[in-house]
Symmetry: C2
């Protein structure tokens, strides 16, 4: 079972600490994957969840600043904007996306921010033999995950990218950014009609809650399209299940998480 990764751990005062921060926190499963990857490599590190509200992020960050054995922070919802402001430096990728979801804290107190949602998503596609190069993608959502995916798909050579967001200004901003950095990509924004797209990617959290609507009407999907999620729980969302029923190929959120964890481990120097 993918969601039960037990890691043999031996945490002492020499163990280096990484925190995954969010509010809520209970849905977080990335820690078990990171701990398993680290344990497999024989590394003396531990990834733990820390729960605080957005209103308390300043106090939390002030604390993090003084923890000398804290080597990394993985901000999730709703803390990404606060940590974006707090890092000392952004990688070119994070500058491009305008967001961070990983911070490397060096011993001299320097915080470097990068973002791996999109990279992880593309790594997930590649690991399963589904290169997005030259493909057409309907991207639903242009928030933290969505914007990161847009840039990563562009970097991976996607042919055509249509971005939809319920706040269309956000989608327009991401599309403009992709057009600026990747002029070869045919990028636009518009209504989320999946007809004719090779890949339909849900980058919204719609589908996490049992009574959520579909992110888009699944009846518009056609067989042989690849439909993907970033949602981790449930592993198979109602939308993915509907896509499967139609005959679509699917990728669960966990595949993107695995791809992200690998990229993030490298960023943290955990080899």
């Amino acid at each position: 079972m993918k969601n039960k990764l037990t890691a043999p751990m031996n945490i002492t005062g020499e163990t280096r600490v990484y925190v995954v921060v969010g509010d809520p926190i209970k849905q977080v499963r990335s820690t078990e994957l990171y701990n398993k990857l680290a344990a497999d490599k024989g590394l003396d590190v531990v990834f733990i969840p820390l729960h605080f509200s957005a209103a308390d992020s300043e106090a939390a960050i002030a604390g993090f600043r003084v923890f000398k054995n804290l080597d990394g922070i993985i901000p999730t919802i709703p803390h990404k904007p606060a940590f974006l402001k707090m890092v000392d430096e952004l990688t070119p990728r994070a500058q491009m996306v305008g967001a961070v979801n990983s911070i490397r804290c060096t011993d001299d107190g320097h915080w470097l921010g990068d973002i791996f949602d999109g990279v992880g998503y593309v790594n997930g596609l590649l690991a399963n033999g589904r290169s997005p190069a030259g493909k057409s993608v309907l991207l639903i959502g242009s928030g933290g995950a969505g914007s990161s995916m847009a840039f990563a798909l562009a970097e991976a050579g996607v042919g055509r990218l249509l971005i939809f967001d319920t706040i269309m200004d956000k989608a327009d901003r991401v599309a403009a950014g992709v057009a600026r950095y990747f002029p070869a990509v045919e990028v636009s924004t518009g209504e989320p009609n999946p007809r004719g797209f090779d890949i339909v990617a849900n980058a919204t959290p719609v589908g996490m809650a049992i009574d959520d609507p579909f992110p888009i009407n699944p009846e518009l999907l056609t067989p042989h399209q690849l439909v993907t999620e970033m949602i981790m729980q449930p592993e198979v969302t109602k939308f993915l299940q509907a896509a499967r029923n139609i005959g679509c190929d699917t990728q669960v959120g966990y595949e993107a998480l695995k791809g992200q964890a690998q990229a993030n481990m490298e960023f943290f120097g955990l080899k």
Copy 2:
């Protein structure tokens, strides 16, 4: 090997967090014991080390105040005084000792401080069939561990207690406290001559460093005395080794840690 307790862990967003704080931190080994005890009980908790300087304790504590999944704090050197000031409530034992080395953080943000060094030490004696009841004890050191041990030994019915400290005022204060709460105990302060004592207890950190002197001259020890340490590393201090060479019975610091961990787990409600 006692110092390699691997615990099978599965840390997710539902895992509750406990921190052991200190400066330095590398010598901390209690986390592996707590994690092992918790894993054996099937509890979804993790104990991690956090390293910050005494000068940064205010920022660290402000951070701890906002971590909603933080259930407990174990302050070690040099943070005990700062946390003593920060707790909302002290148990009667912590009031008596005037120190804390364990804080239970409840969901409503209430911090309750207790102290278990001494209880753990006595638990270690009892677990090895060495009840201090009616015995005479030379206690070397009246700091955090020493004062806690003085009260725990008194509570366990020790007959006679002599407390020595290089700062004699400290020893006098602890002796006065013990006399007040446990009038049946013959308690005094004075030079650390072990002659005639059943138990010689080192409660100082002298012996942690390789070039440390002896806490007291081991040549004054006599066979069949019980000589005990609170130091965790090295497991067998130079002083304990000298005592063994003379023919003394010994108790290593790890035994007190085990006794302390059991008491502390109960305090945290980790059953």
